[in-house]
């Protein structure tokens, strides 16, 4: 469990149950039992999910009597957003630049083997 922070966050959100928990915590804090209620898995399973979210820094548990209210730590989202934005921007920029290069180049004077690579902006999944 010594993965880098970014891997932990992405991995934590790769599970639909965990994403749903995050969604519900965005509305307000909740206890483990409250969180577990809607799903047809045991409370222990949900507790494990929360541990994963906590290790990823997405969630924090405070102690309050025997209850352990779970709180969403939204600031960790920035880690992902930064990573994503960086490469999306980079790719889009390259896309635009390559487009220009191809436009300003006669069809039969292309770099050796490589074809124009139409990089079709096709169906969104």
């Amino acid at each position: 469990m010594a993965a880098d922070p970014l891997s932990r966050v992405f991995s934590a959100l790769a599970d639909p149950t965990r994403r749903d928990i995050v969604a519900r915590l965005a509305v307000g804090d909740a206890t483990v039992n409250e969180l577990a209620a809607p799903y047809d898995v045991t409370v222990q399973a949900v507790s494990k999910h929360l541990k994963v979210l906590e290790d990823a820094g997405l969630v924090s548990r405070s102690r309050e009597a025997q209850r352990r209210p779970v709180h969403l730590e939204a600031n960790v989202f920035d880690l992902m957003t930064k990573w994503i934005e960086r490469y999306r921007r980079q790719a889009e920029e390259r896309y635009r630049r390559l487009d220009d290069v191809l436009r300003s180049m006669p069809d039969d004077v292309r770099p050796d083997g490589r074809s124009p690579t139409p990089h079709q902006e096709g169906q969104p999944t």
Copy 2:
């Protein structure tokens, strides 16, 4: 392998090697062998990684002789960004609202069991 699209994308980016591949593809298209070179794993392993990225819609492979240039499909990032932004905004808004409520409330008139929940904005991991 019938997971929902969002899970596939998050899961695909949960691996550091795969994230690195995406980072390098943002610079420009590349073949499997080129991509595999920097890592000390076999080409087959990288091919598997690419399959995961492709199934997530993050990457597309076109055919060109016996080579299969890999191209980054940046538009899929939006799926994640939308999800993240939605709940981050929601959580931040709630945070602000709750703050107001607590500020406008005398210390000993609190809803039954629940304490103020200091929701400390702790270390950003």
